[in-house]
C-alpha cells in the first residue's frame, strides 16, 4: 500500500480530467448519468486527497512521482515530476473540498440553464488543472496548468452569455490573464536559460548558490505572473468584473480556488525556489503588494451596488491579507497566512453561495432594490450571517482566529526589527477589518433586513439540495473557528515546516546526496508559540453568563404573557383604550370615507413611521454610511474613475506594475 500511495496525486488529477472527458461523451443523453459521473470524479479526487493526509501530514513524507517513470539520470531531472509535500497537500485539500461543495451546489443552481454538459466538462477541467498546478513539481507543467485554468475560467465566466456584461468580463479576464501567463512563461524560459532544468526541486538546489541578474529578472516575471492569477493590486478589477457576471458556483471557484493557486505560486516561489524571503527587499515587495491590494479593494467594495461585485472586491482584499502575512517572512506570518487562506475559501464560498441563492430566487443582485428577504428566506439569512460574521472576524467564528494571528505576526515583526513599515501594515490590516465589517453590515441591511420590496413578495426559500453545501461550509466555518489551536497544530505546522524545510523537498525528488552536495539549507521546525485562543475555562465562562442573562430577562418579563401579533384583521380589544372602539359620530364618519383607511391590519404592530401609514421605504444600499462617504468623497471619486472598465487601462496598469517590479528586482535583488 505504501508505494501505491505515491500514485495518488496523478490518480486524483486524472480522475478529474477523465471525468471531464467522460461527461462530454456520455453526458449528452440524460442529466442523471451526467450528474453521477461528475459526482463520482469529484468524490474520487477528494477521497484520494484525504488518503494522502496520513503519510504527508502525520509522517511528514514528501511524495514524489515521475510521469512515465523518467527518473533523473546522472543527477539531472529529465521527466516531469509531481511532488506533494505538506504545503501543496494543504492547498490540494482546500481545492478538492471547494470543488466538491461547488459541484454539488451547481447541480440545482444551474438547473435553469441549458447545455449543461459543456458546463460540467469545463468545470471538471478547471478543477483538474487547478489540482494539477498545486501538485506539480515542474515549472513548465505549472505554466500549462495555469493556461488551462485561465481558459476554462474565462469560458465559465461567460457561460451565461446573455447575462449583461458577461462577455465583457470574460474578455478582460482573458486578455490580461494571458498577459500574466505570458510573463510566467518568460520567467520559466529565463530560469531554464540559466539552470537548464525545469524540475522545481532541482531549481531549488541549483538556485541556492548561483543567483545572478537573469534569475532576478525571472523572479520579477514569475512574481507578477502569479500575482495576476491571485488578482493582486493592479489586476483586481479583472476579478471584480469576472465575479459579478459568473454563476455563483463559478465565482466560488474563482475566488476560493484560483486566487489560492496564485498564492501557492507566490509562496512556492518565495519560500522554496528562491528562498529569498529573509531578504528585506523581498519582504517589502510582497507585503507592499498585499497591503495595497487589501486596502484599495476594501474601500472599493464599500460603495458597490452589486452584491457579487462587492463580494469579489472583498475576496481580493482577503487575499491581500494572506499575501501580507506571507510576506512577513516569520514562521508565525506564514502560518497565519495559510490559516487565513483556508478560512477565506470557506467563508467566501459560503457568502458566494448565499449570493447565488438570492439571485436564484429573486433574480436580482442590486443592493438598492433588494430588502427584507429574511422573512422569505430565513435559512439563507442565517447562513449569510454566519459567513458575514466569520469574514469580519467576530470571536466565535474562524475569521477571528486567523486575522488576529496576522495582526500579532505583523506587530511582532515590526517590534522585533524595529521597522515602522510593518507597523503601518498592521494598522492598515485593522482598518481593513473594520471596513469589511461595515460593508457586510451594509449588505445585511440592504438585502436581508429592512422592509420587503413588493416586487419580491412571493420569493420562497432555496431548495434543500442547494442548502446542504451551504450548511457544510457553515459548519466548517464554526468548527475551524472554535478550535484554532488544534487546526494550527495538525494542518498548519506541517505546511509551514514543509515550506521552510527545502532539503526534504529536494531530497525526495533528486536524492539525499544531491541535496547535500548543494548545501540546501535545512531550516529547523518552526517553534511558533501559538497562543491558545480558547481555553476551556473561557467556554464555561461564556456558558454561565449566557444562562444568567437569559434567566434575568425571563424573570423580569412583564406579568401577562407577551401577546404576539393577533389574528390579522381582527381588532382584538386589548383594554378600554384601543382607539378602534371609539364612538363614531356622524361628522367623523364621512371624514373616514374621505380618509380611505386602507389598512385593516391592527396598527399596533406596524413599524413606527411617525404616524404615517408605513409604506415601502427601505433604508439600504447606497444611502447607508453617509458620514463616512462624505469625508472620503474625493478618494472615492478618484477610485471610481480609475476603475474605468476599459480593457486597455487594465492592461496598462498590469504592464506598469510589471515594469516597476522588474526595475526593483534588477536594482535590489
Amino acid at each position: 500500500m505504501s508505494e501505491f500511495i505515491s500514485n495518488f496525486p496523478i490518480l486524483a488529477i486524472m480522475s478529474l480530467f477523465l471525468g471531464a472527458f467522460i461527461t462530454s461523451l456520455l453526458g449528452r443523453k440524460n442529466a442523471v448519468v451526467r450528474n453521477v459521473i461528475v459526482f463520482i470524479s469529484m468524490a474520487l479526487a477528494l477521497i484520494m486527497m484525504l488518503a494522502l493526509i496520513k503519510p504527508v501530514f502525520i509522517e511528514g513524507k514528501v511524495i514524489g512521482y515521475w510521469l512515465g517513470n523518467w527518473a533523473p539520470v546522472a543527477d539531472w531531472a529529465i521527466g516531469i515530476g509531481l511532488e506533494v509535500d505538506a504545503l501543496s497537500l494543504f492547498f490540494g485539500l482546500i481545492i478538492t473540498v471547494a470543488v466538491f461543495v461547488s459541484g454539488t451546489y451547481s447541480f440545482t443552481y444551474m438547473s435553469h440553464d441549458d447545455s449543461l454538459v459543456n458546463y460540467y466538462t469545463l468545470f471538471l477541467m478547471l478543477s483538474g488543472s487547478v489540482l494539477g498546478l498545486v501538485l506539480s513539481g515542474d515549472l513548465f507543467n505549472m505554466f500549462v496548468m495555469i493556461e488551462i485554468m485561465t481558459f476554462t475560467a474565462v469560458a465559465l465566466t461567460a457561460f451565461r452569455n446573455t447575462y449583461e456584461g458577461a462577455l465583457e468580463g470574460a474578455l478582460k479576464y482573458l486578455v490580461v490573464g494571458a498577459l500574466g501567463s505570458s510573463s510566467v512563461l518568460i520567467g520559466t524560459a529565463l530560469i531554464y536559460s540559466q539552470l537548464h532544468t525545469l524540475n522545481l526541486a532541482q531549481i531549488t538546489a541549483l538556485l541556492t548558490n548561483d543567483q545572478n541578474i537573469v534569475t532576478g529578472i525571472a523572479f520579477a516575471f514569475l512574481f507578477i505572473g502569479f500575482g495576476t492569477k491571485a488578482f493582486l493590486f493592479p489586476f483586481h478589477p479583472l476579478a471584480a468584473d469576472a465575479h459579478a457576471v459568473a454563476p455563483a458556483s463559478i465565482s466560488l471557484m474563482i475566488s476560493g480556488v484560483l486566487t489560492k493557486c496564485g498564492v501557492y505560486g507566490i509562496i512556492r516561489l518565495v519560500y522554496c525556489l528562491y528562498q529569498n524571503i529573509d531578504r528585506p527587499f523581498v519582504q517589502y515587495l510582497v507585503t507592499a503588494f498585499g497591503a495595497v491590494s487589501m486596502f484599495i479593494c476594501v474601500t472599493m467594495a464599500f460603495n458597490q451596488h452589486n452584491f457579487k461585485r462587492l463580494l469579489a472586491f472583498h475576496s481580493i482584499s482577503q487575499v491581500g491579507y494572506v499575501i501580507t502575512a506571507v510576506g512577513l517572512g516569520t514562521s508565525l506570518g506564514l502560518a497565519s497566512g495559510l490559516y487565513h487562506a483556508m478560512n477565506h475559501t470557506i467563508f467566501k464560498g459560503l457568502l458566494f453561495l448565499t449570493a447565488g441563492a438570492v439571485q436564484h430566487m429573486t433574480g436580482s443582485l442590486d443592493l438598492d432594490e433588494l430588502g427584507g428577504l429574511s422573512k422569505k428566506m430565513p435559512r439563507t439569512c442565517i447562513l449569510f450571517l454566519i459567513g458575514a460574521a466569520s469574514i469580519s472576524g467576530l470571536p466565535p467564528f474562524n475569521g477571528f482566529g486567523s486575522k488576529w494571528m496576522i495582526y500579532q505576526a505583523a506587530f511582532e515583526k515590526s517590534s522585533q526589527t524595529g521597522n515602522v513599515f510593518f507597523l503601518v501594515v498592521c494598522v492598515t490590516a485593522l482598518i481593513t477589518s473594520v471596513l469589511t465589517l461595515a460593508s457586510f453590515v451594509k449588505v445585511a441591511q440592504s438585502v436581508f433586513f429592512g422592509q420587503l420590496n413588493p416586487k419580491f413578495e412571493n420569493t420562497k426559500e432555496v431548495p434543500l439540495a442547494m442548502r446542504i453545501p451551504m450548511w457544510i461550509l457553515a459548519i466548517l466555518c464554526i468548527v475551524t473557528g472554535i478550535f484554532p489551536g488544534s487546526v494550527a497544530n495538525k494542518l498548519l505546522m506541517p505546511a509551514v515546516n514543509a515550506a521552510t524545510n527545502t532539503r526534504a523537498y529536494v531530497s525526495a525528488m533528486m536524492g539525499e546526496a544531491y541535496a547535500a552536495a548543494h548545501q540546501v539549507v535545512h531550516a529547523g521546525a518552526a517553534d511558533v508559540q501559538l497562543i491558545g485562543v480558547y481555553s476551556p475555562m473561557s467556554w464555561m465562562l461564556l456558558l454561565l453568563s449566557i444562562t444568567s442573562a437569559v434567566c434575568l430577562v425571563a424573570v423580569l418579563g412583564s406579568p401577562e404573557k407577551k401577546k404576539l401579533e393577533p389574528v390579522v384583521g381582527a381588532n382584538v380589544p386589548n383594554g378600554p383604550m384601543t382607539p378602534g372602539s371609539i364612538p363614531v359620530t356622524s361628522q367623523s364618519r364621512e371624514a373616514d370615507e374621505r380618509e380611505l383607511i386602507t389598512d385593516d391590519l391592527d396598527p399596533k404592530y406596524e413599524s413606527f413611521f411617525s404616524g404615517e401609514h408605513a409604506e415601502y421605504s427601505q433604508v439600504g444600499g447606497s444611502d447607508l454610511f453617509w458620514g463616512f462617504k462624505k469625508n472620503w468623497r474625493h478618494y472615492f471619486s478618484f477610485m471610481h474613475e480609475w476603475h474605468s472598465g476599459i480593457l486597455n487601462d487594465y492592461a496598462l496598469y498590469g504592464a506598469c506594475s510589471l515594469a516597476l517590479t522588474l526595475l526593483l528586482c534588477v536594482l535590489f535583488l
Binding site: 427584507g372 422573512k375 450571517l385 460574521a389 469580519s392 467576530l394 470571536p395 488576529w404 495582526y407 500579532q408 506587530f411 511582532e412 517590534s415 522585533q416 524595529g418 507597523l423 494598522v427 485593522l430 482598518i431 473594520v434 465589517l437 461595515a438 453590515v441 451594509k442 445585511a444 433586513f449 429592512g450 497562543i531 491558545g532 485562543v533 464555561m540 465562562l541 461564556l542 454561565l544 453568563s545 449566557i546 444568567s548 442573562a549 437569559v550 434575568l552 430577562v553 423580569l556 412583564s558 401577562e560 401577546k563 401579533e565 391590519l601 399596533k604 404592530y605 406596524e606 413599524s607 413606527f608 413611521f609 433604508v619 447607508l624 454610511f625 453617509w626 458620514g627 463616512f628 469625508n631
Partner: protein, 320 residues
Amino acid sequence: MTNVLLYAVHLFLFPGLLFIVVMGLLLAGIDRKLVARMQNRVGASILQPWYDFLKCCGKETIIPRHARKGLFLGAPVACFVILISAALFIPVFGGLSMSFEGDVVVILYLLTAAGVAIIVGSAASGSPFAGVGLSREMVAMISYELPFVLVLLAVGALCGQDSAYGVTFSMDEIVRWQTENGSSLLHPAMIPAAIAMLFVIPCEIGMHPFDIAEAETEISEGTLTEYSGAPLGVFKLCHCVKMYVMTALFCALFLGGLSTGILLVDALLEVVFCIIVTFLCMTVPHAICARFKVEQVFKFYWTFVSALALISLLLVWIMR
C-alpha cells in the same frame, strides 16, 4: 470542587455579573446626576437607571410585523452576554481575571461584537429609522476603532518592552508590568494615548456628544425605535454596563500600578477611579457641547484623536 465554587462566585459575584451590573447602573446614575448639577438643576436620583430598567421590564413587549422575531429578541441578550464576557477579561486592579495570552484583542473584538449585536437587533426590527440608526452606529464604530486600536498597540508596546516578542497582548502582562515600573500614565510617552482613550470612551458607549446612533431629536431613538418592554430594558442595561467596561479598561490600561493587593481596598479604588474617569470623559463633554454631526464625528476621530494616539505610539517606539 472548591475552585469551581470559587470560580462560580468569581463569575457571579465579585468581578462577575452582579458587580458589573451594579457598577454600571451606579456610574450611569452618577453621570446623570453630575450633568444635572453642572446645569444647575437637581437632576434625577442616582438610582434612576435602576428604576428605568425595572420600569422597562414591566412594560409590554411589542414585536412589529416587519421584525424578525428570533433576532429581534435575541440581539439584546447577545449584546448583554458579550459585554459581560468582555468585562470578565478585564483584571480588576491586578488580579482575579480570566486573562490569558491574547486577550487584549479578544476584548477589542468582543466590544466590536457588542456593537454588531446592536446593529443586527436594529436591522431585524425592520423600521426605516432603525436603518438610518444602524448606519450611523457603524460610522461611529469605524471612527472610534482606529484610535482605540492605536492606543491598545501603544500600551502593548510599552508594557511588552522586555518580553520576548517585544509586544504583549495580554492584560495580565500589562498590569504586572505596571505594578513593577509604575502605572503607564506616569510615563511621559503615554499622556497623549490617555487623552485619546478618554475621547474614545464616550463615542464607544454612545454618550451625548457622540450619540449619533440614538439621536432622539433627529431619528427618534435611531437603533432602538422599535424596542419596548424587557428587550429595551436590557439594551439600556447594556448601555450602562458598557460605561463600566470602558472605564475599567481605562483603569487597567493606564492606572494598573496602583493596586494594593488587599481585595476590598482594590474594589473601592476601582470604584473611585471609575467615577473620576466617567466624570472626566463623559460628564464634562455631555454638559458642555451639543451633539456632533455624523461626518464631524468621523473627521474628529480620524484626524485629531488618531494623531494623539499615533504620537504616543511613536514616542514609545523611540524611547524603547
